[in-house]
């Protein structure tokens, strides 16, 4: 999806904004800056600045949890992928997210929350010691800043193409706005803006499926039009075409979807990426953190309404076929990546178009703010405090956090310009991200569920997973025929290769972690309290009525998840 921005430069879509559209966009910037400045007086301690005081309600934690993930680049990229691969892309929102999010909420959140750690690397420190913490903190910090810059560059490119805005103007205005409100209000400001972004994205983008389904005469009418426009191609089944690698547009087998996408990648991301986990760790109590996670799962499950459905509607209603990015330079041609902007332009008049553009801008800015706040917390608590300046006053670390936020944004701007000149970085960034995030899941979950896991195993298992992922990627890069071994098919597309590589790295992580644990010494049990299953006092929920228990709502979401998969089988 990150490659979308790289290829966007040859596209032809141009949206014309009216004065009312511009007013709507400007008002958004005024509000986010004002919110940041207002919230500054409530973020004077480290706990307030880095963890929003751990006072967030379940709804705020949950909506910001899902908004931190719901970036505009992803939205545009998945709408484009839907145009190319059909409803199969919804796996990213269902099996690729829901089981992992519910697992995070019900199984892992108690350990994250009870140990009162500030970050995921912080949990690794408590559980395994310095080695695992430092490896994860450095890799996370580097990746987060890189992703922040890529987000900013991608936004600037997309705004240039669809609105004609100057790239430098987009980068600097948005970045400085983010810098100011994050520097002022820390995580609290970022969370507030993410909740705001959630409303804007839904209200701004819901116009497309509502009007689109009216135009096509409902779902059946849309399917009929797709089959008329693209005879012989199946865009509307999620599982029935995955019995073979060649039976579906994506070239993926169901084993890859379930074990690669559904297990390795999704669990790796949703349970250990501090960018999203930090939001629910800021909840006011454990039950709110768990409920917030379940709320996030519900809305994640609904996202296909505003991302996948517009992609399908584009297949049905656009009077021309979109082309791959490689053909984007053809005059009057529109690429897959223009699916969402084209649908916005199709249905949104003055005002609504400004709202849609504001939603996209908000998505990019929230993504950058989320990356910067996560980076700031990991830098301050997992690198600066333990290795550079120990035992300083809390106010010192708050100052470090504020300046780190500001400098982090500038480093992101630098990354954005670096990517502008070396755009292949985008292609590698997402691949590199998977190198680190999937093995992290194996290390964290074994640490939480098996008290026999040793500190040495935590480090070596994590390293083994990272090196396995990198090694397999390099093997396929230099010998494309290796794809039949890594992804079980020489026809596997990039997305399929990623999911299988993730699966192998997780297996390597688990095998090495278990093996090293059997030959090294574990921590004494008294040091594992609050960190491991069986050594943690989990508050009973029996006194709560069933409708106030997280597991009840998690079960409801799980039932919904199953029904949706059956409905679109």
């Amino acid at each position: 999806m990150l490659a979308a921005a790289w290829f966007f430069q040859g596209t032809n879509t141009r949206l014309s904004l009216n004065p009312v559209d511009l007013i709507i966009i400007v008002l958004y910037f005024v509000l986010v800056l004002g919110l940041g400045l207002y919230l500054r007086k409530f973020t004077t301690t480290g706990e307030e600045f880095f963890m929003a005081g751990r006072e967030m309600t379940a709804w705020i934690a949950g909506l910001s949890f899902i908004s931190a993930n719901l970036g505009s680049l992803e939205m545009m990229g998945y709408a484009a992928a839907t145009y190319q691969y059909g409803i199969l892309v919804a796996h990213a929102y269902w099996i690729g997210a829901i089981p992992a999010i519910l697992f995070l909420g019900l199984v892992m959140m108690p350990f994250y929350y009870i140990c009162k750690t500030h970050s995921v690397p912080g949990y690794l420190m408590l559980r395994y010691g310095d080695g695992a913490r430092l490896l994860s903190a450095i890799s996370f910090a580097v990746m987060t800043i890189l992703m922040s810059g890529i987000n900013m560059y991608s936004m600037a490119i997309i705004m240039k193409v669809i609105l004609g805005w100057n790239i430098h103007f987009s980068i600097w205005v948005s970045s400085l706005t983010v810098a100011l409100y994050v520097m002022a209000g820390g995580l609290l400001s970022a969370i507030f803006n993410e909740v705001l972004q959630f409303f804007l994205i839904w209200i701004g983008c819901l116009v497309i499926p509502v009007v689109g389904l009216i135009e096509t005469g409902g779902w059946a009418g849309m399917v009929h039009r797709i089959q008329t426009n693209f005879p012989g191609q199946d865009f509307i089944h999620m599982w029935s075409t995955t019995g073979s690698f060649t039976g579906n547009p994506m070239g993926v087998h169901w084993t890859g979807i379930v074990f690669g996408w559904g297990l390795a990648i999704s669990f790796g991301y949703w349970t250990t990426d501090f960018l999203v986990v930090q939001r629910v760790m800021a909840a006011k109590d454990l039950r709110s953190a768990q409920l917030g996670t379940v709320i996030g799962a519900f809305f994640k499950m609904m996202v296909p309404l505003i991302v996948i459905l517009p992609g399908l509607l584009a297949l049905a209603v656009l009077p021309f076929h979109l082309v791959p990015e490689s053909q984007g330079g053809i005059p009057n041609a529109h690429t897959y990546n223009e699916a969402l902007p084209l649908m916005l332009a199709r249905y949104c008049g003055p005002g609504l178009l400004g709202l849609g553009v504001t939603a996209l801008v908000a998505g990019f800015m929230s993504g950058m703010a989320g990356n910067v706040t996560a980076f700031t917390t990991v830098w301050t608590y997992d690198i600066y405090k333990p290795y550079i300046r120990k035992n300083a006053a809390d106010s010192h670390y708050v100052s470090m956090g504020r300046w780190c936020s500001f400098l982090g944004v500038f480093v992101s701007i630098g990354t954005a310009y670096l990517v502008m000149n070396f755009s292949s970085i985008i292609v590698y960034a997402q691949v590199i991200f998977v190198f680190f995030i999937v093995p992290m899941f194996g290390t964290v979950i074994l640490g939480m569920l098996w008290k026999r896991t040793t500190p040495a195993a935590g480090f070596w298992g994590l390293l083994a997973g990272i090196l396995t992922s990198f090694g397999l990627w390099a093997w396929v890069k230099f010998d494309p025929s290796a794809l039949r071994h890594v992804a079980f098919s020489p026809d596997a597309k990039d997305m399929a290769e990623n999911v299988y590589r993730a699966m192998w790295s997780l297996i390597a992580n688990v095998v090495v972690t278990v093996a090293v644990s059997l030959f090294t010494r574990p921590k004494p049990e008294h040091e594992l309290k609050g960190l491991v299953y069986g050594m943690t006092d989990l508050a009973p929920e029996g006194h709560f009525p069933f409708f106030r228990r997280p597991i009840t709502w998690a079960a409801a979401v799980a039932v919904g998840f199953v029904l949706l998969n059956l409905l679109f089988w």
């Binding site: 209200i203 009007v211 008049g349 609504l352």
Partner: protein, 72 residues
Amino acid sequence: MEKHFIPIWFFIGSLLTIYGVLILASGIYELFAPPTTPVAMSHLHIGIWWGCGMLLLGLAYVFRFRPKGKDV
């Protein structure tokens, strides 16, 4: 002293109210001065419906979560 900030829902309601007014006004204006190149399905006047909806939702949030005495 415990600090109480104005709930985020109030700010969201305020923004939705203003946006609702702007979009509703645009929609009504288009009724009397239709654009030369209208969007698809323009006969639905979706701007009016959406603007109304946002305005009502915004006002509901503003009244429900308006600052109370202890909020600073």
